[in-house]
Amino acid sequence: MAEEALLQVEDLKKSFGGVTAVDGVSMTVRRGEVHAVIGPNGAGKTTLISLLAGEIGPDRGRILLGGRDIARQPAYARARLGLARSFQITSVVPEMRVLDNVLLAVLARDGRSFRFWHPARSDPALVRPAEAALERVSLAHAAGERADAISHGEHRQLEIAMTLAAEPELLLLDEPMAGMSAEESRRMTGILEGLKGEKTMLLVEHDMDVVFALADRIDVLVGGRIAASGTPEAVRADEAVRRAYLGDEAV
């Protein structure tokens, strides 16, 4: 694994009114690794993701992507710098076809969106990468369906396809297994395993089996702070983590 840091978070802080949701978080995601963030409900995971993606601005701290501070950039600018996120609650364009949704991600990557005349849906420069991304998440069969007509599990796969099609440096995956059946969850784990080593991923996930199966390193977030950090084995063994989060059943 390359030791180069792709994402560095330094002393990140965000408060809402009197509540400090993220309280001085520092972390490093190395290029090529799967880095998981776990933590109990209310630990600040969603706020952390929103801060990284740029949907909210931090009160303090720096976010370095490839050495460049992006903490004050809006979401669309961060996406252009190579940061792609999936949403915990499926967020696609419901009225458009599945393929069109992925096509939009390719188009965002391509950047040439002020073209008014030539049909986009028959442009091989857009369609081929979009189809490849759908193939990658085993969703090619649903390409022509409307995005609001597919199942929940397929929505989750579409989420991943859209982040992949953007060819990002870093994938921010916000609970990709949320609300999935065991079967769907297994399939998604397989898809993510297939991406491991090729893409750098920051994975926020509730499903501990998935996290311990996929992650190279884990940060444990409790009360807005990093309570523990290290390899899955080290985190599993950490006494403070067990008390704060994993509980007895995970031992």
């Binding site: 949907e55 809006p74 364009v93 458009m96 939009l104 991600a105 969106s113 986009a120």
Partner: protein, 307 residues
């Protein structure tokens, strides 16, 4: 199915006027001229409202601007048609650009209110200029002059308006299939996701808003030529409401929706106003029914789609 009805309507509109004249019914040519002008205006509105989700309640302002772009030069004895069209497009585009920069920073009901407010500003500005007739309006005694075309001839004027409708439809059709159109459509469906993908779609929306304004300005110029009389009333907020009515009634986001809507609007207006002076009452009831039970408008109904 809505496509077929759309093509059928276009065929009727292409062949109708000479037949009406042959049958000694020039009145129908007038109705059809008004129809194609309004359909073109509604189609330009549909581009931002139906496809782009920008509910502009001030679109009639561009009809007014276009009409006055013919009327004011004519008042000074300038009758060159190309000058009129150039003025109509440029003034409409400029007004759309300037107001869009501000309006597009708002969302939902605020966008509706602010577009209406900007349109009312133009309305009151024209009302206050007595030189151009103010409230009473302005008579256009000579229509726009083009080489080879004589707009004083009703049939020629009609086919120029019809060509404008065809051009507007084709342009919106091409635009919505382009990369640009996909961004517009995507931003309507899910702003948050589009931003996460890396689209700064404010600029796309501003471009679309400007383009729709310019297109509607052309419709206004033709409508002004047709009526020979223009007044601020053409851009009253109720006129903007009627354009929205046509788009929603016909089917927002469907290519032929505004055409079908405009045709249904004029037909209903004709039928109901012959039946009762309170024709707007059943009209309103009808719109409520369409909104409640046929989300895709008449075009949606024709596709067998419901709310």
């Amino acid at each position: 199915m809505s496509r077929r009805v759309g093509w059928l309507l276009l065929a009727l509109l292409a062949a109708g006027p000479p037949l009406a004249l042959a049958a000694g019914q020039p009145f129908y040519v007038d109705i059809m001229t008004r129809l194609v002008c309004l359909a073109a205006a509604a189609t330009s509105l549909n581009f931002i409202l139906g496809h782009g989700g920008m509910i502009s309640f001030g679109h009639a302002a561009y009809i007014g601007i276009g009409a006055y772009a013919v009327g004011i030069p004519a008042y000074y004895g300038l009758h060159d048609g190309w000058l009129h069209l150039l003025l109509a497009v440029c003034c409409s585009a400029l007004f759309a650009l300037a107001t869009g920069v501000i309006a597009l920073r708002t969302r939902g009901v605020y966008f509706i209110m602010i577009t209406m407010a900007f349109a009312q500003m133009v309305f009151f500005a024209i009302v206050s200029i007595e030189e151009y007739g103010g409230d009473d309006g302005l008579v256009i005694d000579i229509r726009s002059e083009f080489p080879l075309l004589d707009l004083e001839d009703g049939l020629t004027l009609y086919y120029v308006c019809f060509a404008l409708l065809l051009g507007t439809l084709y342009l919106v059709h091409r635009l919505m299939r382009s990369r640009f159109g996909m961004v517009i459509e995507g931003a309507k469906g899910n702003e948050r996701r589009m931003a996460a993908l890396g689209f700064a779609f404010y600029r796309h929306r501003l471009a679309a808003y400007t383009l729709a304004g310019a297109l509607c300005g052309l419709s206004g110029a033709m409508l002004g030529n047709f009526t020979n009389f223009i007044s601020p009333e053409m851009m009253d907020w109720t006129r903007s409401g009627e354009l929205i009515f046509m788009v929603v009634l016909g089917g927002a986001g469907a290519l032929f929706g505004p055409l079908i809507g405009a045709a249904a609007f004029l037909l209903l207006e004709e039928l109901l106003s012959g039946w009762t002076v309170y024709w707007q009452l059943p009209f309103g009831v009808l719109l409520i029914l369409v909104v409640l039970f046929a989300r895709g408008g008449l075009a949606g109904l024709l596709e067998g789609r419901r709310g």
